[in-house]
């Protein structure tokens, strides 16, 4: 099966600009996650979708970050305006849902964002 797709792979922007990332999960995976991974740290969950509904967005800085998952398939994460501290790798992951599934996540290659 095809893996999780993300684009772009790299992005360099200036602070106060906006940026958007796209993710296409594995076909049939109802749950989609966006993580922020700052250098030297583990992935931090920003938002979790189940189909097109939000399950958890408690760590999403909502004054500047937004995410949507229209039609319960692909998703976009937007930052507007960007700050220097947003420099990180943004990971998208997906997993199946339902009884008997273990929440095992499949990760995309990530988007490395540099804010200057």
């Amino acid at each position: 099966e095809a893996g999780v797709a993300q684009s772009p792979r790299y992005k360099i922007i200036e602070k106060r600009q906006s940026v958007a990332f796209w993710c296409n999960p594995i076909s049939g995976h109802a749950t989609l996650y966006w993580y922020q991974q700052i250098l030297g740290q583990g992935p931090k969950l920003l938002i979790q979708f189940q189909n097109n509904g939000v399950v958890d967005d408690s760590q999403l800085p909502k004054d500047r970050f937004s995410a949507e998952r229209l039609k319960g398939v692909d998703s976009t994460l937007k930052i507007q305006p960007a700050k220097l501290e947003d420099s990180a790798v943004y990971l998208c992951a997906s997993s199946r849902m339902g009884t008997g599934y273990s929440y095992e996540q499949y990760f995309g290659p990530g988007t490395r964002l540099t804010v200057t």
Binding site: G3, T31, Y33, Y35, G40, Q41, G42, P43, K44, L45, Q48, Q50, V55, D56, L91, A93, M97, S102, Y103, E104, Q105, Y106, F107, G108, P109, G110
Partner: protein, 113 residues
């Protein structure tokens, strides 16, 4: 709130040495536990998982981990490491009630040939 602690930030071993990476979590409910690995230039991928049954689980490439519920631990082991095991290793916990995942900060393993 759940949290995950990985004890070692960077481990350096020679080939054939034994490996144990520590992972402790804090959460009072039922959890699923994972070790993910990221080889240089590659995606994060699953190494092994525990969600029920035998607390000693085996994963790919000879890795295993033991879930000790009383200690809230899920340590990763391998009896003899290879140069190709050089990678970053992440422990993760998923709360089975809400499905929320928390990752540790990772351990970078360097295996010298």
């Amino acid at each position: 709130a759940q949290s995950v602690s990985q004890h070692n930030h960077h481990v350096i071993l020679s080939e054939a040495a034994s490996l144990e990476l520590g992972c402790n979590y804090s959460y009072g409910g039922t959890v699923n536990l994972f070790w993910y690995v990221q080889y240089p230039g590659q995606h994060l991928q699953l190494l092994l998982k525990y969600f029920s049954g035998d607390p000693l689980v085996k994963g790919i490439k000879g890795f295993e981990a033991e879930f000790i519920k009383s200690k809230f631990s899920f340590n990763l082991r391998k009896p003899s490491v290879q140069w190709s095991d050089t990678a970053e290793y992440f422990c993760a916990v998923t709360d089975t009630n809400a499905g929320k995942s928390t990752f540790g900060d990772g351990t970078t393993l360097t295996v010298k040939p």
